[in-house]
């Protein structure tokens, strides 16, 4: 059974979103997603300072099997990326919610946060 932390928000394409105290958000892929992907071998992240809109394809995770797009869960600006993933992409498998985070954003439309799934709703989606 996949780990779906209660304190995070989710979108159905298997990204998780953590709201930080300073109003920014941190984004990665869920435990369920990394299980589906298998060993991650390469992560391509967006450039810092890029403005993105909800549902833009902004990153790519490549596993031994295939490439998967990562979508922006919110509109806003990329303010940081996890550069450690370049040399250690397998961190996405070993620590999807902590060391395996992918990028941080400053949301431009905070109201979009209401559209995100909570842990229960996401769990229901992946159980189907």
């Amino acid at each position: 059974m996949s780990n779906v932390p209660n304190e995070l928000k989710y979108i159905s394409s298997h990204e998780w979103i953590r709201q930080e105290d300073d109003g920014t958000v941190t984004i990665g892929i869920t435990d369920h997603a990394q299980e589906l992907l298998g060993d991650v071998v390469y992560v391509e992240l967006p450039d810092v300072d890029t403005d993105v809109a909800t549902e833009d394809e902004i990153a790519v995770v490549e596993s031994v099997k295939a490439a998967s797009d990562i979508y922006a869960p919110l509109s806003g600006t990329i303010i940081a990326i996890n550069e450690a993933l370049e040399d250690a992409p397998e961190t996405v498998n070993s620590s999807p919610y902590d060391d395996g985070w992918m990028f941080k954003m400053k949301p431009s439309e905070p109201s979009e946060l209401d559209n995100l799934l909570d842990a229960e709703a996401y769990t229901n989606e992946i159980d189907e």
């Binding site: 060993d39 071998v41 390469y42 790519v60 490549e62 099997k65 397998e90």
Partner: protein, 361 residues
């Protein structure tokens, strides 16, 4: 649910992730396919390859039949147990399948073909047998386990009986020993030393478990693919198929042109291709920029033309992305790959990246 091999329960108990492969429920991995890959490069790993099809070709004309059926020449085989790799071609010179044929004696040959091509292979073999005194029969009595890696032979020998051990002592490369119902061949699909073992179905699970106890790591199809690709070995359906000539699939070495008087299916088409000039070649690629090579990416050889990747992965041994591509014959050492809309440089190499644990590129 697909077909299951006699080792299916072993896979389930080991927590394998099961996927469909050519109608068979097969293990993709048992956790991490990268760790499985390293087991084979550094120690010993094993694969259930029981889904592959064993075909017994027997009869007075067995030899003349196979000399007509296959592009390689079974007349090279003189020692019982000796194996030969060959393409089985259609009249146009396209590859129906690649296979291994073992010589037992002049009237007995054992052929191992791919799982995904089983039906069409058997149909083709039967069709071509019409004018020969030969019987073509599938043998379902065996499971097949490939044990591969620098310690594969030693670890396997430790679970064999004394008689079996004596039978495989000093076994040559590409030779099999038929001993106490086991058919043990020094062959493989990983670029490492090891065996491919046909085991009586009833003993398959217990033999598998003995190998586990001897320290051989179960490996799935995922690792099998990255290992064969590092070794530069073709995968049927990816790197060649019925519409591809062996001359454009790095299989020229498997075509036996001598003796000239031997006719084989596809020969005239291959001669015509050579006459007209072979247009493409299958090469290895090492990605020099970021990303991962996958099958069906566009390859651009500047000033020459375009081609396409046929296989690709991130090499666990080299920690670089490698692949195979069919590109114009005149292409040089440097090409560009179109990866997700971006052009990324790649180096063209001989398609053999890793052998016996050593990087070759």
């Amino acid at each position: 649910m697909g077909k299951q091999t006699s080792l299916f329960e072993c896979h389930q108990q080991a927590g394998a992730k099961i996927v469909d492969f050519g109608g068979w429920d097969m293990p993709l991995n048992y956790g991490s396919q990268i760790e499985e890959h390293h087991s084979v490069r550094q120690d010993a790993g094993m694969f259930d390859v029981s889904h592959m099809t064993i075909v017994e070709v027997t009869g007075d004309d067995a030899k003349s039949y196979l000399r007509f059926l296959l592009a390689n020449d079974v007349d090279k085989l003189k020692v019982s147990g000796k194996a030969l790799y060959s393409g089985m071609l259609n009249e146009n010179g396209g590859v129906i399948d690649d296979l291994i044929v073992y010589y037992i004696d002049e009237t007995n040959y054992r052929v191992v073909v791919n799982a995904s091509t089983r039906e069409k292979d058997l149909a083709w073999m039967a069709q071509q047998a019409e004018n020969f005194s030969v019987s073509i029969a599938e043998n379902n009595g065996y499971a097949m386990i490939a044990v591969q890696g620098p310690n594969a032979i030693e670890k396997t020998n430790s679970v064999l009986s004394d008689t079996q051990k004596a039978a495989v002592e000093g076994l040559g490369v590409f030779v099999a020993a038929d001993t106490e119902g086991y058919f043990i061949a020094r062959t493989g699909y990983t670029g490492e030393d090891g065996y491919e073992i046909m085991v009586p179905v009833a003993e398959a699970a217990s033999f598998w478990n003995k190998l586990v106890e001897a320290g051989v790591a179960p490996c799935g199809l995922g690792a099998r693919d990255t290992l064969r690709l590092e070794a530069g070995m073709n995968l049927y359906g990816n790197d060649m198929d019925e519409n591809v000539s062996p001359l454009e699939a790095n299989m020229g070495w498997t075509i036996s042109w001598q003796p000239e008087e031997r006719d084989f299916i596809g020969k005239q088409a291959l001669l015509d291709q050579k006459q007209a000039g072979v247009k493409n070649k299958l090469v290895g690629l090492v990605l020099e920029g970021k990303g991962v090579i996958r099958a069906h990416m566009k390859v651009i050889a500047e000033g020459v033309g375009e081609g396409e990747t046929t296989s690709g992965t991130m090499s666990p041994t080299l920690k670089k992305s490698i692949g195979m591509a069919r590109i114009p014959k005149e292409a040089g050492e440097q090409v560009m790959l179109e990866i997700r809309g971006k052009l990324v440089p790649a180096k063209v190499v001989k398609p053999c990246f890793v052998r016996k644990g050593e990087a070759l590129v």
